[in-house]
């Protein structure tokens, strides 16, 4: 059923008792043209674009938990395309463009809100770095502007501009950036894929990858063997675990990233703001809660919970930037497992193993990439070759030396 003002009126007339489930819960078929492992944002987006753009509808998405139980429902919902490197920037800009038309495209309200993202700077050197990044963005046709302190004071009067150690001198702003209701992204893609014939199979854990003469022919699952012509892995957090089933070792470590939300308060913070000293980012959700986060905890982890020192660190950053935050109480905190790649950039590529495709290594920037990741991964699977937009996100770049290290930290996963 297409959602519209008319379907709303029709269902209101019958007391909202006749709404149908947004997607089916089918049993797996014996085999598919394409199987995607991982029913998170990227996996569902891949299935959606496989069906919509490439006409491949005999597709299954296998999810070990319930739909959207991983990072798609655990992030801080920020979208932006303010990247520096040529291999990253056009990709993230494609993603932002897809976000801009997404709700009409998949007929679901994902509450895309282009409220603007401001990255604060605190020294002359940092301003130069942000000016450079802004110029790189503009060369790629992406919007970017430097906001001086005077204008910033009008926009965000409650920032701690005169901090003795880290005064706020201004910010790099991308007005087209913003936030999206993250769960609705998973639901919208799932519904859109399901309407086009894709089977979204929940509570179906992949336990093995079957290969014949080297080629992937299917997966062993908790619901039995399912055959496939092509297999795409989009199991962020557990990418290495799943890849090992095919004998593939990856340049990825799993780390825990925490996020926090405060009690709901009245509208206060219009934009997404990031602190340039520590690593801190904050926005206000439509329910009124302040949603914020910081760095990963720093140790390898598969547990979806973090530790107290990072909680303290994040809150310290927040208070240094906005002292009035001290009056808000933290309501909830949670953790998600990140694929931390060794250069801080993702991988969307075919692998050396026939019929096996990989979408992994999103570090903690995966949410904003969801539509373009699915779009490019679908292209890579359908054509057995990467699209120009993900041509730099190669798996073999670590071997060949063409790494994409935005922060120039080197091969140290917990620093990206």
């Amino acid at each position: 059923m297409k959602y519209s003002i008319f379907s709303l009126a029709r269902n209101a007339w019958s007391g909202h008792k006749n709404w149908q489930p947004a997607w089916r819960s089918p049993d797996p078929k014996p085999d598919y043209d394409v199987i995607i492992v991982g029913g998170g944002g990227h996996g569902l987006a891949t299935a959606y674009y496989l069906a919509k753009v490439h006409g491949i509808t005999n597709v299954a998405v296998l999810e070990k938990g319930y739909l959207g139980s991983g990072n798609i429902g655990r992030n801080t919902t920020i979208i932006r395309s303010n990247y520096l490197l040529p291999g990253n920037n056009p990709f993230y800009e494609k993603s932002l463009q897809l976000w801009e038309g997404l709700e009409q495209d998949f007929n679901f309200n994902a509450m895309v809100s282009q409220r603007g993202v401001v990255n604060l700077f605190h020294s002359d050197g940092q301003r130069d770095a942000y000016v450079r990044r802004g110029n790189a963005m503009r060369i790629h046709g992406v919007d970017a502007e430097i906001i001086d302190q005077h204008s910033l004071r009008d926009m965000l009067p409650f920032l701690n501009f005169d901090n003795g150690r880290f005064p706020i001198m201004g910010g790099l702003m991308q007005r087209r950036g913003g936030t999206v209701r993250h769960d609705a992204v998973a639901w919208g893609f799932a519904r859109g894929a399901d309407m086009r014939g894709v089977d979204v199979i929940q509570h179906c854990e992949v336990t093995g990858i079957r290969r014949e003469k080297g080629k992937v022919v299917g997966v062993e699952t908790s619901k039995g063997f399912i055959g496939c012509k092509k297999l795409g892995l989009a199991a962020a957090g557990n990418s290495t675990t799943v890849a090992k089933m095919a004998g593939l070792e990856l340049p990825i470590e799993s780390h825990v990233l925490q996020a926090f939300v405060s009690e709901g308060i009245k509208p206060w913070l219009d934009n997404v703001v990031t602190f340039g000293v520590g690593h801190f980012y904050i926005s206000q959700s439509d329910k009124g809660g302040l949603v914020f986060g910081g760095d990963i905890d720093g140790y390898n982890s598969y547990a979806q919970r973090g530790n107290l020192p990072m909680v303290e660190h994040v809150v310290e950053c927040g208070l240094a930037m906005m002292p009035s935050l001290s009056r808000a109480r933290v309501l909830r905190s949670w953790g998600g497992i990140m694929d931390m790649s060794m250069d801080g950039s993702p991988i969307i590529d075919k692998t050396d193993i026939d019929n096996l495709y990989l979408n992994a290594g999103w570090c903690y920037g995966g949410f904003k990439a969801t539509p373009a990741s699915g779009w490019c991964f679908a292209h890579t699977i359908a054509n057995d070759a990467p699209h120009e937009l993900n041509s730099a996100m190669r798996l073999d770049r670590f071997r060949t030396g063409y790494v994409m290290d935005e922060t120039a930290h080197g091969a140290q996963a917990n620093l990206h």
């Binding site: 290495t240 070792e249 905890d297 547990a303 670590f398 140290q412 917990n414």
Partner: protein, 123 residues
């Protein structure tokens, strides 16, 4: 995760005193011997990313500034053992570097013992 790391030199200290370097299972290839592209690629980039018991290099930056190996569980976050990195490296079973460089191993072992008996553990 356990909040306290039992440093063999300083006793129980909070985790935020430590810098975490990561996976301790990787062996640096010999520059001359097995320093081919593949072995270096494997050493620098490829990670086993253990789900379960894992050994990591931790540096007690805010304390004794010694390198340690923390063995812990990446799912339950339980900590099993904290060992001085030198002791851990020389006692590794089936360690190819240790087998290849027997004299070096002895020296390192002596150094580690010396450090232990040097009184720092008591302070």
């Amino acid at each position: 995760m356990a909040y306290l790391i039992n440093c063999p030199y300083c006793g129980p200290r909070t985790t935020d005193e430590f810098y975490i370097k990561g996976d301790a299972s990787k062996q640096r290839p010999d520059t001359i011997g097995d320093g081919t592209l593949d072995t270096w690629h494997d050493y620098v980039h490829i990670r086993e990313n253990v789900r379960g018991r894992m050994a990591e290099h931790w540096h007690h930056t805010g304390g004794c500034r010694q390198w340690l190996v923390v063995e812990r569980d990446t799912v339950s976050h339980e900590i099993y053992a904290v060992t001085p990195a030198s002791t851990w490296a020389t006692s590794r079973k089936g360690s190819s570097t240790a087998a290849r460089k027997k004299p070096a191993r002895k020296t390192a072992a002596r150094k580690a013992t010396g450090r232990k008996t040097g009184g720092r553990a008591k302070t």
